[in-house]
């Protein structure tokens, strides 16, 4: 995770908007990635990431410097995304829309590009099968290497609850993976069947 100079945060807290712009520049990818993994749509993720930085800017005076800035910022993003997921419920999200990837592959071949797209699609299908809190726990654990304690702090719950959520989420992810594999094998089987005359 990116770490920035404490002095920069101090300057931003004093109202220096250029200092906060530097913070936005530094954390845009981690924040956007969290929002994208949570919401599954690049446009919604962009909106959520922008809103996260606005909220952080407005709450910056209340930031406790003894806490890691990245943890504080990602906590704002996670809570915002959980709220959005609870609000939307039945809104359908397109799985074809793709964000940029970090590090961006400058010139992937057609086969590599297909695999990247396929991986992204599968990840989003798997994450979509999880509830908002479980999804947040998985994203923070696998993308940000947060400990159980850090996730518990972020999601305002206990360590045992986080372990339980992750256990349930892993089982759900494995099941969704198996279902996708069966579907893929069925589709490929049909594609390779001889046409009926």
């Amino acid at each position: 995770m990116i770490q920035i100079e404490p002095d920069l945060i101090l300057q931003a807290q004093k109202g220096n908007s250029e200092a906060f712009t530097t913070i936005v520049e530094a954390y845009q990818r981690p924040v956007f990635n969290l929002c994208y993994r949570m919401l599954g749509d690049p446009d919604e993720a962009e909106d959520a990431a922008q809103e996260t930085f606005l909220r952080a800017y407005n709450k910056l005076r209340g930031y406790d410097p003894t806490r890691a800035f990245s943890t504080w910022l990602l906590s704002i993003a996670a809570h915002y995304c959980i709220d959005q997921l609870r609000k939307r419920r039945l809104t359908l999200v397109s799985m074809d829309a793709m964000p940029y990837l970090d590090p961006p592959d400058t010139n992937p071949g057609p086969e590599a590009a297909f695999h990247i797209k396929e991986d992204q699609r599968r990840i989003q299908v798997m994450l979509k099968a999880l509830g908002p809190q479980d999804r947040a726990a998985v994203v923070l654990y696998y993308w940000y290497d947060f400990s159980y304690e850090e996730i518990a702090q972020q999601l305002e719950t206990t360590v045992s609850a986080v372990k339980s959520r992750l256990h349930r989420a892993r089982l759900s992810l494995a099941q969704t993976w198996s279902e996708q594999e069966s579907q893929r094998l069925t589709t490929e089987g049909k594609r390779h069947e001889s046409p009926a005359f």
Binding site: F32, Q50, L54, P99, L101, R122, L171, A174, Q175, W177
Partner: protein, 177 residues
């Protein structure tokens, strides 16, 4: 057969004891269902671990600055509307209070005229008293030196200018960097 402890061990990322590990391997050799969970989770977790960060489209920071500027404009508009609403409320209360007073006076014009004459007479008497007080002060030697009066007036002027500058600073829209 009870699969629960084996599934728990499969999905736990914490290291198992040697005995647990042995029991799990033994169970996996016999149970196709748990073997499928193991394989599926191995593939799924590998995908989770190899998937890179998704990044926003270029120009994210510029878009954020525009959004911040828009939010500030909106906040200022909201503040202006609140100020207008408060002023309108105060004006309404004053109109109601003053209106009832005027209506009472219009009901009897003679008493209105008498009231105005009484006010004029009181103002004239206040003027007379002030004139007398200043004439007495002019005759006695000054208790406060002229230089102190000069500084006092200067300080009041400075406070007025500072107040005006602060008011202007707070009410003028800031330029977003």
């Amino acid at each position: 057969m009870n699969h629960q402890p084996f599934k728990d061990w499969l999905l736990s990322e914490e290291p198992l004891e040697a005995q647990q590990s042995q029991a799990l391997q033994q169970h996996l050799r016999e149970c196709a269902d748990c073997r499928q969970v193991e394989n599926a989770w191995a593939d799924a977790s590998a995908l989770l671990r190899r998937t890179p960060y998704a990044a926003p489209a270029p120009g994210f920071t510029d878009r954020w600055q525009q959004r911040l500027a828009a939010q500030r404009v909106q906040a200022q508009r909201k503040q202006a509307w609140v100020a207008i609403a408060v002023t309108a409320g105060i004006a309404f209360v004053l109109i109601v209070l003053f209106g009832t007073h005027v209506l009472d006076l219009l009901a009897s014009p003679a008493s209105l005229l008498l009231a105005w004459i009484a006010r004029l007479a009181s103002l004239l008497s206040v003027y007379g008293i002030l004139q007398e007080v200043f004439s007495v002060l002019g005759r006695v030697p000054p208790m406060v030196p002229a230089i102190a009066l000069f500084f006092a007036v200067g300080f009041v002027c400075f406070l007025s200018v500072a107040w005006l500058a602060t008011y202007r600073q707070l009410t003028t829209a800031r330029r977003v960097v």
